[in-house]
């Protein structure tokens, strides 16, 4: 594997060092492309399965006809009005959670710093639950309310953890505390509601795709279409910032501007998705680390993390609906996956001497 060391000659032709550099770069790119391809296949398969499968199983042919807008008796309603919005919402919310999670984790250089661990998702879901259940809001008003609330939470966490700059560990601990407070507030809001069914409650507690309608899908679609490019555009600046703020600035990154744009875009994605599905547990938290493990170090994580997020939500929803006797909302499934990983991370951090 090792290459011949430096011969010192810098002829324009390919020296052994150049060849080695090219080889390392290509192998990383190939692996990333391969991983992305496999993830796309998984997402498309899960999407297809959630359209085909259900109480009535329709053939892929019938499903395709519905998707293309043809009228298929029975399937047009079941697939077109029930399954398709649910699957598309799952796809979009998963993408949004995955992107926002990896943005925060990369920016704060810490896998614990995901928006669903540090209270930003909780802010959105508390606001959405309060807006819907108590204030009787609906549609865009809920999303707007959720965004304002999660921005306020993000700002509060930032302000509370500010002391000679923002240190990762302080921000995370304060965020976890705020998340706990907000979650209890959500429970309180739900318990005070005049009437609420269990489905509605689980949505705001763990996240669910139940009862998804096209009107839920549209705001999330708009958020992803507008905000995902903002993050992708900043992906290299974020990468530079992993080397430390000073190094990033020396490499030509406008650190403060990048941080502001990334926070706004990520909070926007979280808030819109959460307003539609509730805080689907740990998707934002898991997507980045899983993507990183798959593509290996050094590659940009936004696209793979978005795909992992979508795959987690879609596969989790399928498993929750059909894998057990009882139907579970997707948030329960992702929660089962995420909780052990959270414990593992905290234990590992503790062993490493608390250097988060």
């Amino acid at each position: 594997m090792t290459t011949t060391p430096t011969a010192g000659t810098s002829a324009p032709t390919v020296t052994p060092t150049v060849a080695a550099v090219v080889r390392v770069r290509r192998s990383r790119r190939t692996r990333r492309a391969l991983v992305c391809l496999v993830l796309v296949v998984v997402v498309v398969a899960a999407l297809g399965a959630s359209l085909v499968y259900g109480q009535t199983v329709y053939s892929p042919r019938e499903v395709l006809d519905v998707v293309l807008g043809r009228d298929v008796p029975g399937a047009s309603f079941t697939v077109g009005r029930l399954r398709l919005p649910r699957a598309v919402l799952g796809l979009l919310a998963g993408t949004a959670f995955g992107l926002a999670g990896v943005a925060f984790q990369t920016m704060l250089r810490n896998p614990l710093a995901s928006p669903d661990v540090i209270g930003i998702s909780a802010g959105a879901s508390t606001a959405a639950a309060f807006g819907i259940v108590t204030l009787g809001l609906s549609g865009t008003a809920v999303s707007t309310f959720a965004i304002v609330a999660s921005l306020a939470v993000a700002l509060t966490i930032y302000a509370l953890s500010f002391k000679d700059g923002v240190a990762g560990i302080r921000l995370i601990l304060i965020g976890i505390g705020i998340a706990a407070m907000l979650e209890s507030l959500t429970t309180y809001v739900l318990s005070r509601a005049a009437q609420w069914d269990l489905q509605e409650a689980t949505r705001w507690l763990t996240g669910s795709l139940n009862g998804a309608r096209w009107s839920d899908v549209v705001p999330v679609l708009v958020a992803v279409v507008v905000l995902a490019p903002v993050l992708l555009h900043r992906s290299r600046d974020l990468w530079s910032m992993q080397l430390g703020d000073d190094t990033a600035a020396a490499l030509g990154t406008r650190v403060e501007r990048t941080r502001l744009l990334v926070v706004l875009a990520a909070v926007g994605l979280i808030a819109f998705a959460t307003a539609a599905t509730g805080p689907i547990a740990f998707v934002a938290f898991l997507a980045g680390p899983i993507a990183a493990r798959l593509v290996g170090p050094g590659a940009s994580l936004f696209v793979p993390a978005a795909l992992v997020g979508a795959a987690l939500v879609l596969v989790g929803d399928l498993a929750g609906q059909y894998a057990f006797d009882h139907r579970y909302p997707v948030g329960v499934m992702t929660g089962v996956l995420g909780a052990p990983y959270l414990v593992y991370l905290i234990v590992r951090t503790n062993r490493a001497g608390g250097s988060l």
Partner: protein, 273 residues
């Protein structure tokens, strides 16, 4: 191959919060030479260096690169002329040497991640120059301190800037690696004409390797000039509050500072020349 860039500081004022660190400082960095900044802890060395690469905005005065204010220049364009290696950069977990050094190419790349053959050549040249080519596929976090520092310097080299600022590039290195790094920077200066400005802890190594020595005390320049002019017993006393004996280093002809503490020093030590 390099164009001569001038870096000039006029009436610079810097500070954090309410604290003023640098107050009215003038400095001209000689182009194509090695400048070392020395001074006691917390005298503003790193602060000064950070302001030169627009990491810190001056409260007053100017930092001028080729006559233009550094803080008004586009970040990327500046990063193609002026590089900075901070004191403690962070390597992302698991990143390979080739990838890290490749990050140095960022300011040369456009909006859409176009990696060109030039970039490969620049990375390879930086690896060769720092003797890290055989580490190319190793994770940075597995390297020794000396190797890691050379890799970071390689990243700064891949940036291909005509000016390179380094904040204590030799800290945490044992003496042989310190010399290795300084030799490497000297090579770079001599072969490419890169202007180097570095903050150094070790006075004697600074005097040995710098063409131009700047002694900083309490946010002001106490003395600046050739090592022989600057490194005097009076200067050491004024800057560090330390009694010393400065002799001529028999190996280089440069000044060599011997500290005079309270112990292990002969009574007549100062007289001996």
């Amino acid at each position: 191959m390099t164009t001569e860039h001038t870096l000039q500081i006029e009436g610079l004022q810097l500070g954090y919060g309410e604290r003023t660190v640098i107050d009215g400082l003038d400095l001209t960095v000689p182009p194509g030479r090695i400048t070392a900044i020395v001074g006691a802890n917390a005298c503003g060395k790193s602060t000064l260096l950070r302001s030169m690469s627009r990491l810190l905005t001056p409260r007053g005065g100017h930092v001028l690169l080729d006559g233009k204010q550094v803080h008004r220049q586009p970040a990327k364009a500046l990063a193609r002329t002026l590089g900075l290696l901070p004191q403690s950069p962070v390597a992302p977990e698991g990143i390979t040497v080739a990838d890290l050094v490749g990050r140095g190419r960022t300011p040369h790349q456009g909006l859409f991640h176009r990696w060109r053959h030039d970039d490969d050549l620049a990375v390879a040249a930086a690896l060769d120059a720092t003797g890290t080519a055989d580490l190319v596929d190793r994770p940075v976090d597995e390297l020794s301190g000396g190797q890691r520092q050379r890799v970071w310097i390689a990243m700064a080299l891949a940036q291909q800037t005509d000016l390179l600022l380094l904040d204590e590039p030799t800290t945490f290195l044992d003496v042989s690696h310190q010399v290795e790094v300084l030799d490497l920077l000297t090579d770079l200066n001599r072969t490419r004409g890169t202007t180097i400005v570095m903050v150094l802890h070790d006075l004697n190594l600074a005097a040995r390797y710098a063409d131009h020595l700047v002694a900083l005390a309490a946010g002001r320049i106490h003395a600046a000039g050739s090592p022989a002019e600057v490194l005097t017993e009076d200067c050491v006393h004024a800057v560090f509050g330390l009694r010393s004996l400065v002799i001529t280093d028999p190996t280089s002809g440069r000044p060599l500072m011997l500290p005079l503490g309270r112990h292990h020093v002969r009574e007549d030590a100062t007289v001996e020349r």
